[in-house]
Amino acid sequence: MASILRFRKLCYMEPVKFRTFDESPKLYQKLDKKADDNNVILTANSVLETDTKKKKCTKKPSKEWRCVDTCCWMIGCLCTTWWFLLFLYHCFPATLPGFQVPESPGVRLKRDGLTANHPVVLVPGFVTGGLELWEGRPCAEGLFRKRLWGGSFTEIFKRPSCWLEHLSLDNETGLDPPGIRVRPVPGLVAADYFATGYFVWAVLIENLAKIGYEGKNLYMAAYDWRLSFQNTEIRDQALSRLKSKIELLYVTNGYKKVVVVPHSMGVIYFLHFLKWVETPPPMGGGGGPGWCAKHIKAVMNIGPAFLGVPKTVSNLFSAEGKDIAYLRAMAPGVLDSEILGLQTLEHVMRVSRTWDSVISLMPKGGETIWGNLDSSPDEGHACQSVKKGQYAPSSNGMNANHTDINTGFQVKETVKCGRIISFGKAESELSSSQIPNLDTEEFLRSSSSKNVNSSCGEVWTEYDEMSRESIRKVAEKKVYTARTLLDLLRFVAPKMMQRAEAHFSHGIADNLDDPKYAHYKYWSNPLETKCCPEVTNSVKWDICLRLPDAPDMEIHCLYGVGIPTERSYVYKLSPTNKCKNIPFRIDASANGDENSCLKGGVYFVDGDDSVPVLSAGFMCAKGWRGRTRFNPSGIATYVREYKHKPPTSLLEGRGIESGAHVDIMGNVALIEDVLRVAAGASGAEIGGDQIYSDIRRMSERINLEL
């Protein structure tokens, strides 16, 4: 009996995961002893048997039923609910009665009686402008006039290598590779939204429209942000178009000067334009002296990268800048290195190194501006204060440090931000005497003997051409400041730097009247050009002729503060020695104290998430303030800072008081300032300077002859 039962049990019970299984052996043993209950057992067993049998019978069909059909059913349910919700959403009035939408500044100012006055020109920055395909290789068939950059980025996923190929420029010329023409999208659509739902200029445009702006007095100066500035003119005549458009806006709007609103890299692009337009024709636009004064009322630089962005360095050096390209945010999975052996970062580096314009964002002004081995103008900046401002309402952990802030604890631990790249955390904190003093020039000479690593086959980045030895040598140098950094890049990427340095310069002019400064490569560097030297003369001329109260041209620097911004990096050698690999990477394990500025291998300072305060504010706060050699005509400058406040709830989206580099374009205070100036107010009328950061103190510490 027992054996039969066990046999049965083995046969039927085991394959089935029955809940009573654990107890059943015990049960059966007990049942064995009780012969009286035979029939019961039998019935029990028969029930079990039939049960399991039935299960076996019904199992197969029912399982099929479940898998596919339940799936279908689930999806059907989801779809239906989704559609239903979508329907409801569309049926709802645009504004729910209970949900109070804060009034947009445009509406408010319209009620105050502001109307469109000066035409407005928007100059988008790096990466925010859309690019579309005009001619491509066979792999890009069907993409004619479709956006490769901006929009939904579907092509990255569909045909990534084709996409990268088309976005790259030629390695030698920095222009189109043969057979490929990728061109900027023109018009306001170029940069109103970067990706679907991610606004860049859209909010500002909408508010401008509220007070009466439209296509005829609003112009987006879209340009190919991958090219060097002068090349946008050579290839696309972008500067000539901008000039013609500004002249047209000026004439068709009743001879009212334009207000220019550049953002990020657009700021230095427009600086370049200002010089270009007054330079005689072969190299420049031939507008003649006084063109700017005649046509421009104010330049309202948003998040200006006047003196460069340290982030660019890490980006060029190891493609690791946190978000100079929003790429990573857009496609985090794809960018993780070595997923499927794709070596995404290497690809990105290969592509972005063909973009000359990146070099324009390298820190300018060398050690004078960015600090040397031992000191930097923004050192002693208290990271906690940034955080305090940012996280004031929160109560986690930070409260404990508030006392430290008051005691000035952090001052002792001065961060040597001047060392933009250091190898190893210890080196970043050593005093300069302890650092092995390798002369840069000697270092360059000694390492000129390169043996090309031919085993890697096709060369992707110039790192592939460097020997392991020279890579080690780079690391031995330990620290690099803004000046030696250029030498470093010349060493690791000689061709790129050679190409790019024909278009950009990063120094400080000793004598601005030196004829060499007439070359276009200096035009985008505010420290090597005079800003609109003819403004005053022609304004006087204007006054005499017909404009009795012609307001002077103004330069505004509008930027966010209160966000930790990358300033310098702690690097390490990457462990692998494979081909086509980036040999350096940020040492993410290098962390400072809890309240230190060092986090994950990156030193942070105050800024707007991309541009440090120093770069954004220095020219307006000191370099051009008053009548200096960089600003011989004494154009009025205004610093307008906007303190960052993260959005309080999800409903606010990216916040209306944000100070972040791109999100600031939705900051209501900034929008109001732009609107007021566009409607005719002067810088003094919107309140002059508005400063939250230490920019004045920092500027004072910079020892620059003015």
């Binding site: 059907g76 779809c79 569309h90 005009w134 061109r183 009466g212 296509g215």
Partner: protein
Amino acid sequence: MSFLRRRKGSETSKSQNSDSHKQEKSKRRGEDESKRKGDEEKIRKWSCLDSCCWFIGCVCLTWWLLLFLYNAMPASLPQYVTEAITGPLPDPPGLKLWKEGLKAKHPIVFVPGIVTGGLELWEGHQCADGLFRKRLWGGTFGELYKRPLCWVEHMSLDNETGLDPSGIRVRPVSGLVAADYFAPGYFVWAVLIANLARIGYEEKTMYMAAYDWRISFQNTEVRDQTLSRIKSNIELMVATNGGKKVVVIPHSMGVLYFLHFMKWVEATTPMGGGGGSDWCAKHIKAVMNIGGPFLGVPKAVAGLFSIEAKDIAVARAFAPGVLNKDVFGLQTLQHIMRMTRTWDATMSMIPKGGDTIWGGLDWSPEGGYNCNAKKLKNNDTCTACQNGNGDLASTKKVNYGRFISFGKDVAEAHSSKFERMDFRGAVKGSNLVNKTRCDVWTEYHEMGVGGVKAVADCKVYTAGSILDLLQFVAPRLMARGGAQFSYGIADNLDDPKYSHYKYWSNPLETKLPNAPNMEIYSMYGVGVPTERAYVYKLTPASECYIPFQIDSSADGGSVDSCLKGGVLSVNGDETVPVLSAGFMGAKGWRGKTRFNPSGIRTYIREYDHAPPANLLEGRGSQSGAHVDIMGNFALIEDILRVAAGATGEHLGGDQVYSDIFKWSEKIDLQL
């Protein structure tokens, strides 16, 4: 559940005392079984809702799968399929000419026509919330369905000024996107742009002169400074392309708009652009007019008169359901009429030149046109052959000069056989219609029954009297339009009154600019029956209705009659009759005439219509229809050659399929 458990319990009741374990076991088993039973129950209760969900899920899944496959499919697959079915496709002209070595040379300016340009909202009323910078016209027309009244309100212009109503700003979309596709998949300029790009054109050498096609030409300058922008852009393109002159390609109404521009740019500043008298000579190499309604479009009359032109607004094709009369009592046609009547631009296309050009009561230049000539070519049936020989009899009756006739018999009778009443004296005021019940206002409601009757009593209207008719039925509209457009023929072009801008878009009242090296092409399709005259009837009296409508029951006697459904058709491109598109090029401007004092060379390029052979061809590469011609390979090739530097002689001079030269001779116009 509990019932099941109880049932199990009774089964094992005998052994209840013997072992608690057993009970537990059976209980568990019971539970288990009940669970399974529950499952079964669920399956049994697989209700309607569930199967609905299941079905939707299935459909979604398949859809996604197909979508995925479609996306994963190589882009060239459809082409392979097409080639497998229809044999190898000819190279698109861009590729073909690129292989021949043609390169981009002259910058190109596109001037879109009426309705094809996109319009977007810049400021609107409450109801248009959230539509800021969204397309109201063009694109998907989603808003038309969602909030039709709001849409009509925003698309209308002010009744008095012909400009924006207060609080509404609708502006043209700028850039090539303005008119590359009218609606998704319905190309206008896209094919031409793609072919130009093949030989090296790009954004900097192509410019879409988008303008607000609703307002009168001069008002585009007054409101948007559009003409100034076009001038500035052309100057910029000439400057940045090494002094190479531009090739201008206007389409449809853009042809008239560009005529206006050429006069404007050389006129002195307060009214004109102040470019100087040689601006055109310096900046324009050629004007390649595609389907240009130089002398107007008869369709425009029907459009203004009763909103029944077949497709003057392509809107009807896109929203047929909405436009059906009396759907939900929406009075759609009246709404549309009220909206389109605020659009001054439609009046630029009223036939110009009066009876001299379009024919009088008993004659017309196209008089002997043989409507079945085309059909002969298409289907060689023998009956048609026989009829073809004796067609004189059937065509004798066609009186194209009578634009509007009331009743078919009137349309065919000789003018001596009926009497015309003068409607101008008719009393309007006798208004029996209860105005308060009409929520839509058109000027018809002011006419009253007497007025309507008077109009019908006049029986026939020629191109000359059609203006009087419109003046009578829509006095305000015509008063507004009369300040912007003129439809006559100048006796003396040097009369100083002709320097007014209202004459600039009428080729019969302006001189061409002094630019002897310029070339003017008239490129248009032929071989498609085109509306030319209408047979009307009175609408059965009802309230708030448009009192006239096309008598669609009026058909010609024989199969080959030109009269079909109340519409007399003639050769053309479906919208513009050959006469309007070709006359200026064939005669009015040919050689040195008073309209063309500097002797600008003109070329007629006709493209015979061949409908697409099968569905795969889409709208066809040999179409001659008004908009589809923009995808005609022969036309694209001509444009590309001229853009790359060829002259009209290189193209082969005139290319004529229709009787345009014969017809032009019949027109007695002093040159």
